[in-house]
């Protein structure tokens, strides 16, 4: 009981000193809880949406995806004949059945040809307006579409793009562009997270999306009273046979959920990963806080021991303080987490993904997990300092509190750290020289962990060396103040080491990723220069196909020398070794592709693969299936017949562009696949006539103006886009790593603040003998900068090592060029110095304000 009481009192007495550690726990817990609440809320929103929009039973084509997506290679949704509706109506227990048509393989533009598709990655859906839609949507303005020239739009999209009744809308599908005027605006009664939805009347939808009347993509079936969905499904199946896909509302919702679930899981685990890093960094902060509190309380603890407290009691009292800290931090963290989730939802709103706070979902597991994590991590982190406290001898009460020198422990620590770092380095070396990516990545992971732990352990030992060097380079200029700053930083290497290590972790990841990212750009650029022989590339950045209309527009453009279409489909390959590989990707292009892309071959020439009934395979596939030049492969094209193609080229497995692709010509594909099943063109490569490059580029852009979804790029722009894309990804990751870095900065602030308290008398003495406030503040700032730079040096060193190793390893996958982004690295280093200055602001200010007399007063 007394133990608890002393812990409580100590905790409250030092609440200021605990504050920063509590904030570290708070931030980490908040991030975990925020992530969970956010993803759960997203889940709830989608669940409600899917549950609300699905009809009791849905009938669709066997070729349709379970989730109701309608993508097919030819850009048209798979359909079922209209007669099915009547068949379904005849089934038992059916109250009503209606045929609908919808497609997601569409782009919708406004009168200015601006793309109305969601920027959040949500789908664009164009469909017929039906009774089933009317269940979840309410027409708030105008009326439902009637006739070919009318279209209705959902209210969110209308809001976002300032659309009003009468505005012109263009629906671009594989069949062409259909224009209509807005006749009505409909609002969802549930939250629509981000799809843009447009409605046509049924006949217009059929004509625009499928190109024929009398067909539907789905039949929405409603059950009569007292008939369960499962029963209804059985009845419908009895009536229809097994030629169609029949799903209950729950099955459709589950299938839909699964498709968004994957995305949400990636988001969730990525964010939890970053929260984990923040926790790791927070551990250092907590260890430091408790170490310093124990050191400051050495005499007090000695007294407790002298008057009869057992080691265990002392130990426990420190751990109870940690428990309290963990509890306070976590409880606040759970609250902050919910706030963070709301903030994230608002942020998503800003980029076009609508989430409603009324759907805010806090599962009981979320606070439970947050609390558990926060408390367990805090107590674990405090364990080492607590053990040290338990070891304090009763004699400490009688001695002047001084920092006990433990040179031996330092040596053991140094040795352990070196061994770990060495092992990590060797493992990284193994990773770099591995032959197989899978084996190498294992080594890489192990090497990263080992070298990280090694650096953390050896950190305090390194601190003395590194700080001296930094001091010699940076601080000497500041005379005695600089010298004292250096000495102060060196005073407790363990503290400096731990503080620096916290910063090291975040910066190591930044450095590593920046190396990988910039190597990716450099490698891709080099590869592009080597391989690409075309001038322009036209494609949709969201991976949609080019419509035939758009391809025709490209072909009609003036000044182009050659235009190469690039299509993609699947086929079952039966190879000479007798094996069949199902659903293998095969690329069909115009023969000019061989000029546009100088793909390396190990046998034959790529151009020959585009001769009639010919193909190319890639090196690995050839090896695995005993294929050589002249071998024949039976190719059963999806939606078409089987052809026997002769292998006339084997492409090299080096190279990253279109890695692993196997080619045939579009003409060959057309022999085996009927015209209406031909896949659309994914990408068009175009080259200008000699000397007309600029004019052709402008003309091409001009002719693609009608199709805002397709990007036209020349080689320079393409490389730029690639760089931007990688840059954006990196920026997002840096943003998430910022959390870990913020916690590390808190750690620096914490260390300095506690050091200042610890050195109160020293500061008083220096002030008494004439150190000005400015000099004092400068001294603390410089100490902070040195600690931050120490962390930065370690982190950057470690990160460069990891990054270079990762590049070596990924060289197997085509990441051949190691490019170290020195400006970024230098920026991080200089930035760290500023971080140090920033972290010292408050501690330095407080030290300056310290009362000289109080500071020097003998107790």
């Amino acid at each position: 009981m007394t133990v608890l009481k002393t812990s409580m009192r100590n905790f409250l007495a030092h609440k200021g000193r605990m504050a920063l550690s509590a904030v570290a726990v708070l931030l980490s817990v908040a991030f975990v809880c925020g992530t969970l609440v956010f993803t759960d809320t997203m889940g709830t929103t989608f669940d409600k949406l899917f549950a609300a929009t699905a009809s009791d039973v849905t009938v669709s084509s066997k070729d349709a995806d379970d989730g109701g997506e309608t993508t097919a290679g030819n850009g048209k949704p798979p359909v079922i004949p209209a007669a099915v509706v009547d068949q379904v109506r005849g089934a038992q227990g059916v109250k009503s059945a209606e045929g609908t048509v919808f497609s997601t393989s569409v782009t919708v533009v406004d009168g200015d040809k601006d793309n109305l598709s969601p920027t959040s990655g949500g789908p664009t859906i164009v469909g017929s307006w039906n009774a089933n839609d009317a269940r979840t949507m309410e027409i708030t303005d105008g009326a439902a579409p009637e006739g070919a020239d009318q279209i209705m739009v959902d209210a969110d999209t209308a809001d976002k793009h300032d659309l009003a009744l009468g505005d012109e809308i263009g629906v671009i599908s594989a069949l062409g562009t259909h224009t209509a005027k807005i006749s009505g605006i409909a609002d969802f009664t549930v939250t629509n997270p981000g799809a843009a939805i447009f409605f046509l009347d049924t006949a217009t939808a059929q004509r625009t999306l499928v190109g024929e009347s009398g067909v539907y993509t789905n039949v929405n079936v409603t059950a009569a009273a007292g008939v369960s969905d499962d029963q209804l499904k059985r009845n419908v199946l009895t009536a229809l046979g097994t030629d169609y896909k029949v799903q209950t509302a729950k099955e459709s919702a589950d299938a839909n959920k699964e498709s968004v679930g994957d995305f949400m899981d990636v988001l969730k685990y990525a964010m939890l990963g970053f929260a984990g890093i923040a926790f790791l960094v927070g551990i250092f902060l907590i260890i430091n806080t408790f170490s310093m509190l124990v050191a400051q309380r050495t005499r007090e603890i000695g007294l407790m021991r002298a008057i009869g407290s057992s080691r265990k009691q002392v130990n426990r009292s420190v751990l109870i303080e940690a428990l309290l800290l963990g509890l306070v931090g976590s409880v606040l963290g759970v609250g902050a987490g919910i706030g963070l989730a709301v903030g994230l939802m608002k942020l998503m709103g800003a980029i076009g993904m609508e989430l409603s706070t009324s759907d805010l979902t806090v599962a009981w597991t979320t606070p439970a997990l947050g609390l558990l994590l926060g408390v367990v991590v805090t107590v674990l982190a405090a364990y080492l300092p607590a053990r040290r406290a338990g070891k304090i001898s009763p004699m400490a009460a009688l001695r002047d509190a001084g920092t006990p020198a433990d040179a031996k422990a330092g040596r053991i620590r140094g040795l352990t750290g070196l061994v770990l770092t060495g092992a990590g380095g060797y493992t990284l070396y193994l990773a770099g020289s591995a032959d197989k990516a899978t084996e190498g990545s294992l080594w890489l992971g192990l090497g990263v962990v080992l070298s990280l732990i090694g650096f953390v352990v050896v950190g305090p030992v390194l601190a003395s060396g590194v700080v001296r060097v930094l001091g010699a380079v940076l601080l000497r200029a500041f005379g005695p103040v600089g010298r004292m700053a250096e000495r102060n930083a060196l005073r407790n290497p363990r503290r400096t080491g731990a503080t620096g290590a916290a910063l090291m972790i975040g910066l190591a990841l930044v450095a590593c990723l920046s190396v990988v990212g910039s190597s990716m750009v450099a490698s891709a650029t080099e590869e592009l220069d080597k391989v690409v022989g075309t001038d322009f590339i036209v494609q949709d950045d969201n991976g949609m196909d080019l419509t035939p209309e758009a391809v025709a527009a490209i072909r009609a453009t003036e000044g182009l020398d050659r235009v190469t279409e690039y299509k993609w489909t699947q086929a079952d390959f039966t190879t000479p070794d007798g094996k069949t590989s199902d659903d293998t990707a095969i690329t069909a292009t115009d023969p000019t592709y061989a000029v546009d892309m100088r793909m390396e071959t190990v046998e034959g020439k790529l151009a020959d693969a585009f001769r009639p009934d010919s193909m190319s395979v890639h090196e690995d596939y050839a090896k695995d299936h005993g294929i050589t030049l002249g071998s024949t492969v039976d190719v059963a094209f999806e939606g078409g017949r089987t052809g026997t193609l002769t292998v006339r080229a084997v492409t090299s497995s080096e190279g990253v562009i279109d890695a692993g692709a196997m080619y045939t010509s579009i003409d060959t594909l057309a022999r085996y696949v009927p015209a209406d099943k031909m896949p659309l063109t994914m990408m068009v490569l175009a080259s200008a006539k000699d000397g007309q490059k600029d004019a052709a580029y402008a003309a091409l852009k001009q002719s693609m103006d009608r199709f805002p979804q397709f990007e036209v790029r020349d080689q320079t722009d393409y490389k730029e886009a690639l760089k931007d894309q990688i840059g954006q990804l990196l920026n997002m990751i840096y943003g998430l790593l910022a959390l870990a870095i913020v916690v590390a900065i808190l750690g620096v602030v914490n260390t300095l603040a506690l050091s200042v308290v610890e050195r109160t008398r020293e500061i008083g003495l220096m002030r008494a003998i004439g150190l000005s406030r400015r000099q004092l503040r400068r001294m603390i700032r410089m100490e902070s900068v040195v600690i931050a730079l120490f962390g930065a040096l370690l982190g950057l060193g470690l990160g460069l090592g990891w990054g270079a190793t990762a590049q070596q390893l990924l060289a197997l996958e085509g990441l051949k060029v190691l490019d170290i982004p020195w400006p970024t690295i230098a920026g991080v280093f200089v930035g760290s110095a500023f971080v140090g200055l920033f972290a010292a602001l408050v501690p330095a200010f407080r030290a300056g304000r310290m009362n000289v007399l109080n500071a020097i007063a003998t107790e």
């Binding site: 005695p480 003495l765 003998i769 004439g770 000005s772």
Partner: protein, 262 residues
């Protein structure tokens, strides 16, 4: 015997006045109204240049407060304090700091030295902070006087308590301040080490012409001084020249007795 051989000065500051520091009607009070506590009650005092002055008095008499005020460490409620001809009351922190740095030396009871600096660095610290080069010959002489030549590279933790205080004395002397203030400089030392330190202070007055003010409650320590001031209830109540330990002790007993009867 009391006059110095030569009185070293720096930069021509100060004049030839015989008074190094003056307090005029100094009042130091804490709190206000009923809880007002007066630590110094209209104190007038002159500290003679080149003399060793001891300030004595029972706990709570205001002796430390007087020293802190004289040294520019603490502010006064009213009255003036002059260091040589400079009025230090009312100076801003920046000027006070510089004044302490350039013109005053300090020796505290404990924790006089920075643990991160070695003995020599501690000694030259005030000059380092000021960005001045120490006068090599003078420094050697000071180090010689306090007998630390062998231990200049030692860190404070490697020195005994007496040695640490001697380093503090050397630091106070090294910058040639106009005046040195000691706050019970021998309070934490055994009698032998204490005698050593006091001996150095005495010699620095006699041989180096230093002005020293020391707060103490130890009659033996006070007997090293040229003059002893007695403080009680914030007022200077008595004064003694060329004291011996016995005289000081007797006077103290006297005060104690009076304090009990009053």
């Amino acid at each position: 015997m009391t006059s110095a051989v030569t009185i070293p000065r720096h930069g021509g500051t100060g004049g030839t006045t015989a008074v190094a520091a003056r307090a005029r009607q100094v009042v130091k009070a804490y709190g206000s109204g009923e809880t007002r506590v007066v630590a110094l009650d209209h104190v007038d005092v002159d500290i003679a240049r080149g003399q060793f002055t001891a300030i004595m008095g029972p706990s709570g008499s205001g002796k430390s407060t007087l020293m802190h005020c004289l040294a520019g460490l603490d502010t006064v409620t009213s009255g003036q304090i002059y260091l040589d001809d400079t009025e230090i009351t009312g100076l801003k922190d920046k000027k006070l700091t510089r004044l302490r740095r350039d013109r005053i030396g300090f020796i505290f009871q404990a924790f006089n030295l920075l643990p991160t600096l070695n003995a020599l660095e501690n000694i030259t610290l005030p000059m380092d902070i000021a960005g001045r080069k120490p006068d090599k010959a003078w420094l050697d002489r000071v180090v010689e006087t306090v007998g630390l030549a062998e231990r200049l590279k030692h860190r404070p933790t490697q020195l005994s308590g007496g040695q640490q205080q001697r380093v503090a004395v050397a630091r106070a002397l090294a910058a040639r301040p106009e005046i040195i203030f000691g706050d019970e400089p021998t309070g934490n030392l055994d009698s032998r080490a204490g005698a050593e330190v006091l001996g150095f202070l005495r010699r620095s007055v006699d041989e180096l012409g230093q002005t020293i003010v020391m707060v103490t409650h130890d009659p033996v320590a006070a007997s090293y001084a040229d003059r002893v001031l007695y403080l009680a209830d914030g007022r200077i109540v008595d004064e003694m020249h060329q004291p011996t330990a016995e005289q000081v002790l007797d006077r103290m007993k006297d005060f104690d007795a009076r304090g009990r009867t009053s």
